[in-house]
Amino acid sequence: MPSEVLRVDRVWKRFGELEALRDVTFSLRGGESVGYLGPNGAGKTTTLKLLAGLSRPTQGSVRVQGFDPVQDRTRALRRLGALVETPGVPSYLRGSDLLEYVARVKGVPAGERRSAVRRGAEAMNVAEHVGRPFGSLSTGLARRMLLAAALVGEPEVLLLDEPTLGLDPAARHDLRIVLRNLAREGLTLLLSTHLIEDVQEVCGRVLFLRNGVLVGDEPVNLESSAGAGGARRVVRVRFASDITVESLARAAGNEIDVTIDEPRTGTLRFAGGDVEQAAVLDRVVRAGLPLVSAAAPEPELARRYLERVGREDVP
């Protein structure tokens, strides 16, 4: 696999007078999970359509695994799974019909097709529904079936456009887990979404798009990336009475970075995970500070979204 799996190079896309994309350049390396955030009409779906070979750039070039997805469709799209917008499927077709067709076109050998279909369906938890016609599936189930189709053939690159749209909270949670696991296994993911939680939970890097212009390309979790020697935990703590930074720092321990945001609220930053967090909070309580709650801070990504993109269409 080439180091750059997806490349969008100085791409412009015009629809008559409308400039949907303006000089957009970015690339994804193999195994990267990248969120693509922006308001309605920013050009996210247009970008994904270009990468999936559904559309051509007016200017600039697009490459998938080194190949032009329009000129060299077979090689560019062979190991790509894509779900762009919400495709309709004729109501009489069954889920298994669609998944088998995708497997066949993706070159899955006849003997392995059934298992490829089963794996895709199981990943999206729709295995028991593959025999049902699309017309009998709920919106969420049909969406999951389409996601299963995108996963058939074990793609190395996945392009997803608002994948959690229409899913209930449990299915949304399951999908995020599936995507996280796929990312861990080395899949390259470009996830276009309105939902910051999707990006926060799945992606390591985020692109911000506004009015067709790329306005940000940065790590999702700046706190984590700033930490040396492992993950950094940030915990917002609230107390029943006013506290001082000295008392909180003394209680939490020397290695803990402490700030006081409001008289009764502070933030603890430290290296580690759940075990370390439990130990820190235990020390705070044992020191006699009236701890009321401890939680993750407001999503920092949401703040950055507002900074880069503005208040329009805040997710």
Binding site: G53, L54, Y92, D97, Y101, R104
Partner: protein
């Protein structure tokens, strides 16, 4: 070639699941049966005329089958946006559509062919040609071949209309209109005694051009 075969199989699956595959039986069963009933009811006194009458009935039925299935093969996915899924697959779009059209067009023509054999068989079995019967207005064998040209024309026009309108229903309407126009022109030429093999030949050529244009355009559709 692989895309062609895979999509031909895909079309067969779609025909089966939607039960549209039964449409192929209409020309085979209803064509000969309907024309035989008409022959007997009208008291047709010539096997040749009975064949001509039967072929015209069969042409109407076969046209509707070819129109309907071609319109759906081209326009259904575009209208439903299923192409957002299929266009992102590693295959030539033109070859994919060609595979699907191959099934519906050859299926429609084969169905017509079997119906024509049935019409000829029943006409000759049920009707005894009277010595005073006038000669049929057209040679049955010529008409049978001419209808093939008509079916190809209607399929091509409908396929092209499916690309332009991105809708199966509107493509179907365009195909029906083309059928009405071609039938009108054919009738006029017949009345004026100028109906020659050139007419169905031109129809077939226009139809083939329609298919080629459709396949080329399909590859360039911007979603």
């Amino acid at each position: 070639m692989a895309s062609l075969i895979q999509n031909a199989q895909w079309e067969v699956t779609r025909l089966r699941r939607s039960r549209r595959i039964w449409l192929f039986l209409i020309p085979i069963v209803a064509g000969p049966t309907g024309s035989a009933i008409a022959d007997l009811y009208l008291g047709v006194n010539s096997a040749g005329t009975a064949e001509v009458l039967g072929l015209l009935i069969l042409a109407g039925l076969s046209s509707l089958v070819v129109l309907d299935l071609t319109a759906l093969a081209v326009g259904e996915d575009l209208a439903l946006r299923t192409h957002y899924l299929t266009f992102a697959l590693p295959q030539s779009r033109g070859a994919a559509l060609a595979g699907r059209l191959a099934v519906v067009v050859t299926g429609g023509l084969a169905s017509y062919g079997m119906g024509a054999v049935g019409v000829a068989g029943l006409a000759n079995a049920l009707i005894t040609t009277s010595s005073t019967a006038p000669a049929p207005i057209l040679m049955p064998a010529h008409l049978a071949l001419g209808i093939v040209g008509l079916l190809i024309f209607l399929g091509g026009v409908t396929a092209a209309a499916g690309i332009v309108t991105r809708s199966a229903s509107q493509a179907l309407v365009a195909g029906v209109l083309a059928g009405v126009v071609s039938a009108g022109i054919g009738s006029m030429l017949l009345v004026e005694g100028q109906l020659t093999p050139l007419f169905p030949g031109v129809l077939a050529a226009v139809g083939l051009m329609g298919f080629v244009w459709c396949l080329l355009q399909y590859g360039w559709i911007e979603s």
